[in-house]
Subunit: 249 residues, 6 copies
């Protein structure tokens, strides 16, 4: 476990290895096969899972399913309004990048054979943004995906014994601020971070994705290790919350 | 007052002249200058008002403000998922049409001179759709707009005595189903309606917009009048709820 | 019948309940299955009907036909040139809205079963604009549609006794200017109107669409009624002209 | 002069060196500063010239004017309906190519210094297509441009003695069909042509643009010369018609 | 043969009827079925030919093949960087025009029956631009196309005796500068040319495309003839180089 | 130093910790201020640096420069042709993601104050792809950027003593194939990798970016460490090659 740095005062009074308050509301949407409203502090993301029979054309006949994701922000999720991507007529690089990350992260815990020729689309729409929207999206999308798979079993679309999920997955941001590694950065910390890392981890503590970026000075191996320690600690907590919300603990 | 048709049984047990349960949660967004989460039964729309100083270039120097609106649906707000307009790279006709309607409706109660050279953008994002999303949007956007104007006064951007709002505005759908005029149609009724009308009304009962469409057989003058009676009744109730939510009653 | 307001002087000398000179030239296009060049005063719209066998994919096998419409303005139809929507790469909200209105209006008089699995696309291209382009479009599109159906019968694509048209349809604009309700507004009146209404009416005097908008002050029930009276009077005249042009009177 | 080939029978009975009936209606548009509806047989193009003071940003302060052109076809100008480029969201290669050709052709007879810092946009919209739409566009656009320049003089925007036009310009198509060079091809001949050439010529018989394409077998020098002879003959006739229409002969 | 104008000094010391140094590197790309890096002086274009079995949907079942081309410039091929068309979201008119020209030119030497139901896409990407990029593209694309056809024979996709190529094709630019006709213009000459012509010629000296444009003063018949003489001389040399590179001489 | 795994046979005979042959050709483009053609085995990327005075509007007046990057692939860089993004009208997520990565990586070694109000755009166009295109792009872009800065000094745009570069940067891919960590994956290895990581490292061995993705099974801390060891070894070699090419060693 990463040791708490006791001399640092965070804006919201948290310890350096402490998550913000995490809330996951299952079944928030009446229309989707699976859904979760997830909150990391003031960050709020609505995650829905749309389960449909059949797969995209290029995958037909292979006996495998498909999981994909789309991420977006409401124009006034942020402090100042940004233009809608639909109005601009194109999707920005950041949106593309995060959608792809979410999709890869969830596919990492899917056995596509066990899913059969079915498709799940995960939509992660940020209703309010305060840092960590991509990690909240991944963590919430997992809950929505689990719900949708339970739904498919309840409908007889998947057999009761099918195990399309090979484990759980969650994600957290970590960063170095004024030389101190910290867990779960809100917006005010995120913009000041010298190094910023998003880590996606399975329920049994293995890495699915590690994305570290030097925003200021390049970082060395020790800093990298300190950040990974924090991230493993944070995602272990998130995995426990996911199990509890899904009634698995 | 429109007389209740006692022989008709609606799916949700309502009288023909009865609104669905209406909930308006003010200040739902921490980031926007004004916001409201509005619910007409299962229809849920997040309305935010973004107040910024200055006006678009074409309006500069005229001493007038500007109010505009954008409407959108989350892809899984509906029963089956629809493609994102940002991904398709263009906005559909329906989205355009509703955005324009919301903008016109709110501008109808704005004194642009009193607003000064300031801009308010109203974003109405449908989180869950069950009929009446455009009327819920107008009704909720009014609350968000009021909040944003109060905020501007509290910040000294508008003088305390400025009266940019000339009144309130709300909207409701009405329609004829199996020959019976009904108020506030959920999705299941909306798709069956022979005639469908959206009516936007000021707090003192005058029309801002009347949009009636024969989906099946054309309608006659009597039917038109019966629908208008219902709409005036419904919007009077909505206006009362708005006053209560805004602490004006 | 709406009473003429004798004290008001309109710019072009018309009575308040008087249409502009209406001209409909059938068969203007040699290539289309049906066509009409329609003029409401200086407003000129070329309406063509393209009849093709088959229906869009989503309608196949239901034994029903499809009618749709597209509206557009030439860049210099107006007083000052506007950019081409093809060059901008997207269609504006106004264009979308009017295209949808024309399509709905024509479908209101179509029996899709009697049309069989055939498609008619109505193109309404404004060559010169002076107010009322959407109402002229609907009125002219009906003539083009009738021609196209006659053509289909002459070709044996539709049986001689098929009745895909359940009636005729026409449309007119009405508005309140300086407190006076007036019929068929040219551009100079349109921009000054406090209330603006477009009314689509069948040949037997029933409403297909009523779209009233308060551009200035909201309007009351009496004003609404006065406008509807004028609109019914105007569309009755248009219906008579349509019958004459089509050789049905 | 090219010699008429007497043994060839054209579908419409014309001689091989004979133009289709040419009609130019000046001032067809009430809104544009210059306009002409031009007909080459069944091909009909509405050409408007929009004269505005000022030039694009990149040309400011150089004391020169700018002339540009946009060409488009109505969706049902052709025998079978084509999709609107505005709906597709992009302009096709053919449209681009022809717009550029028209612009270059008209600029060839413009003295941009004499035009002053003014802009003329030429819009050529094909209302009905039967071959030769680009050549009719150039020929008609010249008339609209002349009108617009006269208008600018009448308004005092250009001095009465300014000579922004250095000459006139017209264009015609020629082609080889079954080995026979022919003038002014309608659609039925155009699709069968082995070689297709569009030639743009000034009023004094010099070349502005020569665009010859082997659609079937490559062509030799003699064939090229025969086509150029025909084209010079045809454009001389068009120049005479232009002078007459503009009251210059 | 065009006579060399001995009194004119070109910037690079060439005679007026002299090509720049021409280099063609076959097989530059390891991935494409055919490829050539072609250099006309400092102009460098990478031409690849992608051979695939099958044809576009609209051509299926006719026993014919299809050849098409796409041209593009790298953003910094030119002296100052231009925006990427992919970033702008649309292709410019010039790009469209040149792509179409290349496609037509290559199809002029293809027997589509002999090609069978196969498709060749020619990509011409300008890596460095110094005038004549379209003519270099055509000349290089022919070499890539020949290679791809040889490849298809070596793979047994085409029979060894199939003759899909009916001849060779190359292209060169010519122009008039300070009244003097010149061959193969680099950028500095191109921008000064009064008349600019691109000529596409088969290996046996017939015209496939002649595109002459008056950039300054219109040109007369003698000037046109002088330019065509130069072009035929230049393309004869290019054809010889092509034969040599392809091992056919 | 990572220990070579002696039992593994790579397709091209390399040791597991061995780079492919690396070639960097400086000054490949005559038009750009800096350029390099970089080859990692069969992967070939043309990197150009466009140096222009001035900065984007949002950065004006802050005394800082700007460095940005755009990545793209030629359509036939790959084994099978892909559609051009310019033709599709939008940029794919992968392209966006890599462009952003290159930009961030180069900005990590730029002192924007020392660069002054100047902009460098790095274009990385993949001419031939065989795995590692993004890491080759970063490594080559650094060389082009260095050249462009030398050019700016030679032109007096930057003072001779200005040090806008705070160090060098290069990048390499690493991955786990059949359980064995390997350096610099060509395409055939890349598609088989269970874990794939791209690592961007400064000349003095610090991390700028670490992007590890589990393509198959999630990876543990030991595997992560083995991959980082390999990457540090590979980038140290690349840094040496960069120094040599730039004449700095």
């Amino acid at each position: 476990m990463a040791q708490e740095n006791t001399t640092v005062q965070r804006a919201d009074g948290r310890a350096t290895n402490e998550l913000r308050p995490i809330t996951i509301t299952r079944g928030w949407s009446k229309n989707a096969e699976g859904s979760a409203l997830i909150e990391f502090g003031n960050t709020r993301v609505l995650c829905t899972a749309s389960f449909t029979e059949g797969v995209p054309r290029w995958l037909k006949g292979e006996g495998k399913g498909w999981v994909t994701a789309e991420y977006a922000m409401l124009p006034r999720a942020t402090n100042t309004r940004s233009s809608r991507e639909s109005v601009k007529g194109k999707i920005g690089g950041r949106t593309h990048e995060i959608s792809r990350l979410i999709g890869r992260s969830l596919r990492a815990v899917i056995d596509t054979k066990a899913l059969g020729e079915n498709t799940v689309v995960l939509d992660c729409d940020v209703l309010q943004a305060d840092g960590g929207t991509r990690t909240a999206s991944i963590t919430g999308a997992y809950v929505a995906l689990s719900e949708a798979i339970q739904w498919a079993k309840s409908q007889g679309i998947l057999r009761a014994k099918a195990q399309p999920l090979t484990g759980s997955v969650s994600a957290i941001s970590v960063g170095i601020i004024d030389g101190v590694p910290m867990l779960d950065l809100p917006y005010v910390e995120d913009v000041r971070a010298e190094t910023d890392m998003n880590v996606v981890v399975t329920g049994d503590g293995k890495f699915v994705e590690v994305q570290g970026t030097a925003e200021g000075a390049p970082f060395d191996r020790d800093e990298l290790n300190a950040l990974l320690d924090l991230a493993l600690e944070g995602t272990a907590e998130l995995a426990a919350i996911q199990r509890q919300v899904l009634g698995e603990s």
